[in-house]
Symmetry: C2
Subunit: 326 residues, 2 copies
């Protein structure tokens, strides 16, 4: 079932075996071994990306690998967990040859070093269709320190790390939008789309601080909606408070009607969390120590659903933003 | 990204959330929690199947689900581990609608009850290509009781559970071969191809008995080759000793030249293991207590590579079997 010039076994041996740690045993066994340190629990998540849907077949393979790993690492961070291991499944068409795989493996290698992870195992199959890449990430968290979606309480402040909307704009730029934007802004938006920066420094340090947390993948409003649904509360977000990068700000200043759309766009992989007002100073100090901005953008309230309020305090119509209430 | 009449969230809620256990939290969080019992290690493996490659798009969806789960469970059994949890990724084209998914979920439900597993998490994406299904299985094993591939020693006997070649013949029957075969034989071969029976009862009980173990997925000879390569030994297999089902025996009696081909065919999901001669009585007693035949088919020897010997004691040519030495 070779998908390239090399046979499956040789490709695994050459590109993936070097990425394993002790538990992955150089991919020479039926399965891998994972020890869980005393007092900790394992945290597992899985996400897949499809060529033509979640990435473009012509995207740089190392960036595709990094995006695949990072969207999973972001889920671990959103639970307050630290990343440790991953398993990888590649279903590749024959035109993804050895060069593509070599670059893909280089992207994994750089990122697993960055995040302190190793490869445990995987599968490599051929497909006559588009490439489908699936990754399972394993992290760990101190027992009781996991941060779930269901703990938001009325009166909590809603916080978000970093900036919102860049990935959505980055995809738009790749598709030809905003030709008038400064080249540095264009590059920064594209990078945010192609290689998200999961907040592994912040997530685990919010244990005991945040009542509920999620990473922004479906979009700020949709993901806050997920938190509200599980927590059985509602939320209000002030559009003007939503943090924007200089590139996004330049675009919104030219077209203010885009702001609600950015609040609905996905793929930011920032952390969105609810914390009691008494935690605000702790969060600001943590944010400063990490050099990662965090911004209070709204409030949890009794009820259900998410309302986005404009500068005038009136609800912003979300009909055209792609956001829907679950 | 709905792949059917229902939206993604509704499909997950309806079909997959009911399959979760406590750690999967009804798929309402970013990731799942896994506790590892004291004195045990977790064992993880992942395998993917592609429509048109590993199953046929028209195959019954519940059987597809069972095959996907079982090929992974077989890897756990081959490490001596017991199955506990799984994560599932589906990349489905739009023609796989709600009915397909409902039947697929029913297959999972029946099997996870059978094997004592629960769903931890997953991802559900749309693809314009053929369905790609990927599953990560998690089991556990007492520390030190894991059985790896690398421990086979010269003088060990080579054993295999159940019967060999049925799945390969089952696929041939599905493709129209052996029209003269008795209907009951045809049905039993097809069932062996579509729904393997991983040896979860036997695997963990071979801890301290088997020196090395693997499950037969690539084919008896290829998989024995994997054991030999990692153990740095060779092996000899007596073709006449290889256990055949009544259906396979009927076919081989009509065409004896098929026997080597069955030894190279894959997808048996039997356990293939090496154990010292002193363990033979223990293995026979275990086999009897489980009602699962196990058969000594050869010997581990110094050197490298796998030799298949015919009734006359001379090597059988493997050029046309698909087996190659790694």
């Amino acid at each position: 079932m070779a998908t390239s010039e090399l046979g499956e076994f040789e490709r695994i041996r050459r590109f993936f075996a070097p990425l394993t740690g002790p538990g992955g045993m150089r991919l020479l066994d039926d399965a891998a071994l994972v020890d869980c340190p005393a007092g900790r629990r394992l945290v597992v998540t899985t996400d897949a990306i499809v060529a033509g849907v979640h990435f473009l077949p012509g995207d740089p393979p190392d960036r595709v690998a990094q995006k695949l790993l990072r969207v999973n690492v972001s889920d671990l961070a959103a639970m307050g967990a630290r990343p440790r291991h991953y398993l990888l499944t590649t279903a590749l068409p024959s035109e993804f040859g050895t060069d593509w795989l070599a670059a893909f493996a280089r992207g994994l290698e750089a990122d697993q070093r960055h995040f302190g992870m190793d490869l445990l195992g995987g599968d490599s199959v051929a497909t006559p269709g588009p490439a489908v890449l699936s990754l399972t990430a394993i992290g760990d968290v101190a027992v009781g320190a996991e941060i779930r979606r269901g703990g938001a309480c009325p009166g909590d402040r809603v916080w978000v790390s970093g900036t919102i909307g860049d990935a959505w704009l980055g995809l738009a730029v790749l598709r030809g939008a905003y030709p008038e934007l400064a080249p540095a802004h264009r590059a920064s938006l594209i990078a945010r789309y192609q290689v998200p920066d999961p907040r592994t420094g912040l997530g685990p340090r919010l244990a005991g601080v945040a009542h509920a947390m999620i990473d922004v993948s479906d979009g700020l409003l949709a993901d806050l909606g997920h938190v509200c649904e599980v927590s059985r509360v509602g939320a209000v977000v002030h559009a003007d408070a939503v943090p924007l990068s200089p590139a996004a700000r330049a675009i919104v200043e030219a077209d203010p009607s885009l702001l609600p759309r950015l609040c609905a766009g996905g793929d930011d992989y920032e952390l969105l969390f609810a914390a009691p007002p008494t935690a605000s100073e702790t969060i600001r100090a943590l944010s400063a120590s990490l050099g990662l901005p965090t911004t209070a953008i709204g409030t949890i309230e009794a009820g259900a659903g998410v309302r986005l309020l404009g500068r005038d305090g009136r609800p912003v119509a979300l009909g055209d933003t792609g956001y829907r209430h679950f």
